[in-house]
């Protein structure tokens, strides 16, 4: 049998794993540059392969049953890898982000012995496997593979006291989430005797859900929601992002967290889409999404440690993405997909700029950096560009995705949708702008000495040893990411392509029919092109303008006495983020109980 495009899927998982093993063994013997080059070439190869896969998949699906274990009827023990436009697009994103992170790491990090590179490759392979897998147990295994490499990467600076603590918190909470998912998989297997997503969907079918089906749904989703950092399962994220090396944060914020939501969406539509009513799921995830967005934005404003600030902005955006998913419509999910791409570009660029600041000044604390980075002209320009991109200035992909998703909320009858999107984008963008204005421009009230003396969370060691001019590899990684964020808003027809991708994701019965019986899906209906609308542009400009106001208010907060009424609320919110692993696990169960109540109670 001739190899087809579908055979690329196992290859993009296997090749990085093989290379990672090779580097783990030979890393010490090879010179640093050889390790760098091999890793970078591997990820470039993966990126090219996934681009080919995306192109050949078009608006349909390509799939392969690994080892030729095709199912007979609805029964089979084989495992399928499936690419539809959404999973192939995510696979490309993983490749591009990993390549840029490695390019940045070329002159960054005193990585010895190839461990860092091997871990990055394992991490990327785990994520690629997760997006392609059409088998529930396999998804959990890939989830753990990317998890284990992520914990190790978080605690990479073992000499840094906060890094090891952040890594441990991340590892414990995420592993517990994964084990709960596994318990859910076991329950489902006990009911159906199958593990493949299409077989599970067929078997559950239109039956009225009973307690066991709901319990398995809640358990499986809990693991994915931990990864997707939905409040109150989000605590690990800020700790992990604050301490992980900057290139690792690119993969964390850019795509790993979003994969949690992808897991929720994929499993819901293929397995539970016919049995759990859409209204029920919509309500549950709208509530979780709104809470996540509001808490994330409020916490983001209160941070002075840049990486922690960006981490909370990621949580706030995950809330908005969850709202977009919860609409369960092709517009809502398509808009979210564009937004995720735009967000990955600008947020990753911001994390890399944070890495540059950390390396040069040994701190990313807003007050300590006050006015210190004035000489960084280029850095400042890139930082402000990315920050207003995050706030949603057209033509960044963030703005296009936001405006499509806003339209979708209105179509679904949620008139508060655009307001939420605008306010949360403005608050998080404003917080980042405020940091930039203080660090790069020296604006704002000078810090009190006692404020400076306050120990900040995550006082870090510089991560590299570059002085003088910023190396070209670092700058090019940042510029490429920013351009990707821009391209997401400028590529013609990207909105329509995303809507078609979302249609394929939603079509659970079509997924099962194609994998089990080879039924080709009908060509997508030519929808009205999801493009820039005048309302969308106006709302995007509004969120950018509000972000500037938020930034100004933050800079001169001491003069705005009336804003201080919010201080007790903020203090209370901050006190919940204790950095205590026991509290995090307790909150995990609160979140799981909330999901169970939101999904289960209406079905009683």
């Amino acid at each position: 049998m001739l190899p087809t495009t579908a055979d690329l899927m196992p290859v993009v998982v296997a090749v990085p794993v093989a290379m990672a093993c090779l580097l783990a063994v030979l890393g010490r013997a090879l010179p640093r540059r050889a390790v760098d080059a091999l890793t970078l070439l591997t990820m470039l190869g993966v990126t090219v392969a996934t681009v080919v896969l995306l192109r050949d998949t078009g608006t349909g699906r390509t799939y392969t049953w690994l080892g030729g274990w095709t199912p007979h009827g609805n029964v089979g023990v084989g495992i399928a890898f499936v690419a539809d436009p959404l999973s192939a697009g995510l696979a490309v994103m993983i490749g591009v982000l990993a390549t840029c992170a490695l390019l940045f790491a070329w002159h960054y990090l005193d990585a010895v012995g190839g461990h860092f590179h091997a871990l990055m490759l394992f991490f990327a392979a785990g994520m690629e496997g997760f997006v392609f897998s059409a088998d529930l147990f396999d998804m959990v295994v890939f989830f753990e593979l990317m998890g284990a490499s992520a914990y190790a990467l978080t605690g990479f600076h073992v000499e840094d006291e906060t890094a090891v603590e952040g890594g441990l918190n991340f590892g414990l909470v995420n592993s517990l989430g994964a084990y709960l998912s596994l318990a859910g998989v076991a329950l489902l297997y006990g009911r159906v005797g199958q593990l493949g997503l299409p077989q599970l969907g067929e078997a559950l079918g239109h039956h009225r859900p009973d307690a066991l089906v709901v319990a398995s749904f809640v358990l499986v989703m809990t693991g994915f929601m931990v990864k997707g950092a939905l409040v109150p399962l989000h605590f690990w994220l800020a700790d992990a992002h604050a301490v992980a090396p900057a290139p690792v944060c690119v993969l964390f914020s850019g795509v790993m967290v979003e994969l949690g939501l992808y897991g929720v969406a994929r499993v819901y539509f293929t397995v539970y889409g016919e049995t759990l009513p859409h209204d029920d799921i919509r309500r549950a995830f709208l509530v979780l999404g709104v809470v996540t967005a509001v808490v994330g934005a409020a916490m983001c404003l209160g941070q002075r440690h840049l990486k922690r600030l960006l981490a909370f902005s990621t949580i706030a955006h995950m809330g908005l993405f969850t709202v977009g998913f919860a609409l369960l419509s092709s517009d809502g999910i398509g808009g979210t997909a564009v937004w995720v791409v735009g967000h990955a570009g600008v947020k990753s660029a911001l994390f890399l700029l944070a890495g540059l600041l950390l390396e040069r000044y040994g701190t990313v604390d807003e007050l300590e950096l006050h006015g210190k980075a004035r000489d960084q002209r280029l850095g400042a320009a890139l930082f402000f560009l990315a920050a207003i991109g995050l706030a949603g200035l057209p033509p960044f992909g963030t703005a296009l995705g936001k405006s499509i998703a806003e339209d979708a909320t209105l179509t679904s009858g949620y008139h508060w949708g655009p307001a939420l999107f605008v306010v949360v984008s403005a608050l998080t963008g404003g917080a980042v702008l405020r940091f930039g204005a203080r660090a790069y421009l020296g604006l704002g009230d000078a810090p009190h000495p006692e404020e400076l003396a306050e120990a900040t969370p995550g006082d870090e060691e510089p991560e590299g040893s570059v002085s003088g001019r910023t190396p070209l590899t670092m700058l090019s990684a940042i510029v490429v990411l920013l351009l990707a964020g821009l391209a997401a808003g400028l590529v013609p027809d990207i909105g329509r392509a995303a809507a078609h991708a979302a249609e394929r994701l939603i079509d659970g019965p079509g997924y099962a029919a194609q994998l089990l019986s080879g039924v080709r899906p009908p060509a997508p209906e030519p929808e009205p092109a999801a493009v820039w609308t005048s309302t969308g542009v106006v709302l995007s400009l509004l969120s950018t303008g509000l972000a500037l106001l938020v930034a100004a208010a933050g800079l001169w907060l001491r003069r705005l006495r009336w804003l201080h009424v919010l201080t007790p609320v903020m203090h209370r919110l901050h006190r919940l983020h204790t950095g205590h692993i026991g509290d995090y696990v307790a909150w995990l169960f609160v979140g799981m109980a909330a999901l169970a109540a939101l999904v289960g109670l209406p079905l009683m």
Partner: protein, 115 residues
Amino acid sequence: MSIYAYLVAGYLILIGSYGIVRSRHLVHAVVSLSVAQAGTYVLLLAVGYQRAASAPVFGSTTKPNTGVVDPVVQAMTLTDIVVSATVTALLLALAVQINKRHGTVDPDDLAALRG
């Protein structure tokens, strides 16, 4: 399979999680995580159990068409154990490093990441 095994599985998952919540020692917390995971092993094996069936190894003593327990859950359990070994080793290594840097492994005394 009697309901007893399922009760044990649920109990292990919950008591392990409770152990992490109330933990005063990080090694204890990591081992509690393993206890919670042991619950998933019990659950998986209980799901595949058949009364009066033999191990899923066909050969001279076990002819095809005789009843065997489900081999898929056993494969899943094995995979799960491998994952657990990796994660537990990694987390214990981090706990050792925390002890070196902070001089304590009591989560109540670790406050580097507050706020």
